[in-house]
């Protein structure tokens, strides 16, 4: 990995074979995730599997098509840092919606209790709290 840092450019190396293998892998993984989606894995499992496959595909693209495999630290660090902040922005608001006072979520959201949803949709005060 680090043996190229002295000559960070992709000069004079031929990567054609590598590209072909990566392309084949990406195609296979696309077919796999498509196939798996037809089985309908229940609950969170389906999401996890699909996202895991997408992550593998993305990693292949970033490492080989985008040459992060051969390139010096800063470029890798840039991508990794940005991914940390992607995770941050996706998880914390989601955690908020998952843990907040249920009535503070949109009234027809599936997380709100049914009777409260009805009450708010009908523009009436909700029933007394238990």
């Amino acid at each position: 990995m680090s043996d190229h840092t002295a000559a960070p450019a992709t000069t004079a190396h031929t990567h054609a074979g590598r590209y072909l293998v990566v392309w084949a892998a990406l195609t296979a993984l696309t077919a796999l995730t498509w196939g798996l989606s037809t089985i309908h894995i229940p609950g969170f499992g389906g999401v996890a599997v699909a996202l895991a496959i997408a992550t593998v595909k993305g990693t292949l693209v970033a490492l080989f098509f985008m040459h992060l495999w051969d390139q010096p630290g800063p470029n890798r660090l840039v991508l990794i840092t940005s991914l940390v902040f992607v995770a941050l922005l996706v998880t914390l608001p989601l955690l908020d919606n998952a843990t907040r006072f249920p009535l503070a979520n949109p009234p027809d959201a599936e997380t709100a209790p049914q009777r409260i949803r009805d009450a708010i949709l009908n523009d009436a005060p909700p029933p007394a709290h238990p």
Binding site: S82, L89, T99, R100
Partner: protein, 553 residues
């Protein structure tokens, strides 16, 4: 003006960036030289500072009495919106990084220019375009949403919010381009001899700022775009009537806007780290701690945005997470404050104008920072949120700290940028007026907030009037202070004595080159054997004569 009897008389560098390759307006507008672009940024941001300051004065006059004083409620609401938008997006965010940063950062890393000079010029024009669109929106009618653009108010208001959103969106690109340029410059264009541990602290802080600009600005851009789309076409991502969550907007907005506070304060810390060393003539106490804490602020600053949402309906769990993380960002500032104070120990302190601003800065940063941590202390925030306490707190940080640092930078590097000295006596008068005016403007606002006066109030109960009058009185002193500065600094452009390459006897790399610097920054590249904050190795400090940039030994 030179302070050293043994040094040669100061010289105004004959061949400098101001007159090479040409002096015409066209050569400025098409320049790729980072110094000229920096100066153009400085001039434009200062013009917008004047505009924003005018709005601020009108707001303060309006608040002299409860009820209408000089304008009606609608004008008042537009006024504070424009004050916020102009000051934050047009002045505070670009002023130090794009202005002083552009001018100094390449010199400080020993480069001839930034990595991408054309992108740098593009950044300026993008900034100008965004500013013009936003200004157009203001003249065309203005918006009354506050600079925070909270939905659904911003998506339902009948005022002209879309051009201002688009203006801010475009300004974001300028911010991104500049940040990108700086990061690449620091990584790839450091001169031989300038290792990471010999980078000036200014560069470290600007580097941290750039990281935030790169990572946070796109999110704000997308968010503002979504609000504009919602306002124009009704695609409600945040629209509660269509199942949207207005609190999500606040999450997105503060994901940018909390780190944006650090976009404003980190460059101020950058300036102060330079000033405190130069005027104490002392090595920085704990170089690594000060340098790395800049990166720490840049990183941890991203994990705290939720402390703006304690009253918004956010979950108690999230409030806890954001609350405890917010406590950690304070310690990086604490490290810097302690190290700056410790730097003065056994120094040789000279009370020049920049140092007076440093004293003001330290005071305001300390109280602004401590009230910031107090505001993140969840239960206290419930009382203070959206009151004048918050207003006073962030003005302590943004005006008290950033503008003090901006003025310190303006005075400290004025001889480098223009080749001439300002009048030191008037400088001290201006600094005293600004610092004391500032205290009297914003100290009463803390008390107003404690008493419970909400912000963005056009009317207020009469019991709040005394403190409001005090605040307005302070603001007028502040305004006079700025006018004094404007006058003597303009006078010095023509009549100021020639400064010479290093009037302060500073060890910063930028002082190794003549004033004003030549086109490619150094006539002959120094070897940079000494660190930029080292004052102990030679008896006394020599002033480097122009044209002898390499005489560092």
């Amino acid at each position: 003006m030179s302070q050293f009897p043994d040094s040669s008389p100061p010289v105004f560098a004959e061949r400098n960036y101001l007159n090479t390759p040409a002096t015409g307006l066209k050569s400025w507008l098409t320049t790729l030289d980072h110094k000229r672009i920096g100066v153009m940024f400085l001039i434009t941001t200062l013009i917008f500072f004047a505009v924003g300051g005018l709005f601020a004065m009108l707001i303060r006059i309006e608040l002299l009495t409860p009820g209408p004083t000089i304008m009606d409620a609608m004008s008042y609401n537009r006024m504070f919106t424009l004050h916020g938008v102009v000051m934050i997006f047009l002045f505070m965010i670009p002023a130090i990084p794009s202005g002083f940063g552009n001018f100094l950062l390449p010199i400080m890393v020993g480069a001839k220019d930034v990595a991408f000079p054309r992108l740098n010029l593009l950044s300026f024009y993008v900034y100008l375009l965004g500013a013009l669109i936003a200004l157009g929106g203001m003249i065309y009618g203005g918006a009354d949403t506050g600079w925070t653009f909270y939905t659904p108010y911003s998506t339902t208001t009948t005022t002209k919010v879309v051009p201002i959103l688009l203006g801010a969106f475009i300004l974001g690109f300028s911010s991104i381009l500049t940040g990108l340029n700086f990061i690449v410059t620091v990584h790839t264009l450091r001169a031989p001899g300038i290792t990471w541990n010999k980078l000036p602290l200014f560069v470290w802080s600007i580097y941290g700022t750039s990281v935030i600009q790169i990572l946070a600005t796109p999110v704000l851009g997308m968010t503002l775009l979504l609000v504009a789309i919602e306002h124009a076409f009704g695609w409600g991502i945040f629209d509660p009537a269509r199942g949207g969550d207005p609190v999500l907007f606040q999450h997105f907005f503060w994901f940018y806007s909390h780190p944006a506070v650090y976009i404003m304060i980190l460059p101020a810390m950058a300036v102060i780290s330079e000033v405190v060393c130069a005027f104490s003539r002392k090595n920085i106490f704990g170089y690594k701690a000060v340098a790395y804490s800049s990166l720490g602020i840049a990183f941890v600053g991203f994990f705290t945005w939720g402390h703006h949402l304690f009253t918004s309906g956010q979950s108690a769990f999230n409030a806890g997470v954001f609350g405890v993380l917010s406590m950690f960002v304070g310690i990086f500032t604490a490290i810097k404050v302690f190290n700056w104070v410790a730097t003065m120990y056994k120094g040789s302190i000279s009370f020049k104008t920049p140092f007076v601003y440093f004293i003001g800065f330290l005071f305001f940063l300390f109280f602004g920072g401590m009230t910031g941590v107090a505001l993140a202390t969840v239960s206290l925030d419930i009382h203070w949120q959206d009151t004048y306490f918050v207003v006073a707190h962030f003005h302590f940080i943004m005006v008290g700290s950033t503008i003090m640092a901006f003025l310190a930078a303006l005075h400290y590097w004025w001889p480098k940028i223009t080749g001439r000295m300002y009048n030191e006596r008037w400088g001290l008068v201006g600094a005293t007026l600004v610092v004391s005016g500032f205290v009297f403007t914003f100290l009463p606002q803390f008390l107003l907030g404690n008493e419970g006066m909400p912000r963005r109030y056009f009317n207020y109960p009469e019991r709040f009037q005394a403190l409001n009058v005090a605040s307005t009185a302070g603001a007028s002193v502040l305004g006079i202070g700025f006018l004094v500065i404007l006058v003597y600094i303009l006078v010095s452009l023509k009549y100021g004595p020639v400064a010479g390459p290093n009037p302060w006897g500073s060890r910063g790399y930028e002082w190794l080159t003549p004033s004003p610097p030549p086109l490619e920054n150094f006539d002959e590249l120094p070897a940079f054997e000494r660190g930029p904050h080292e004052y102990h190795d030679l008896p006394g400090v020599e002033a480097v004569a122009p044209g002898a940039g390499s005489s560092h030994a």
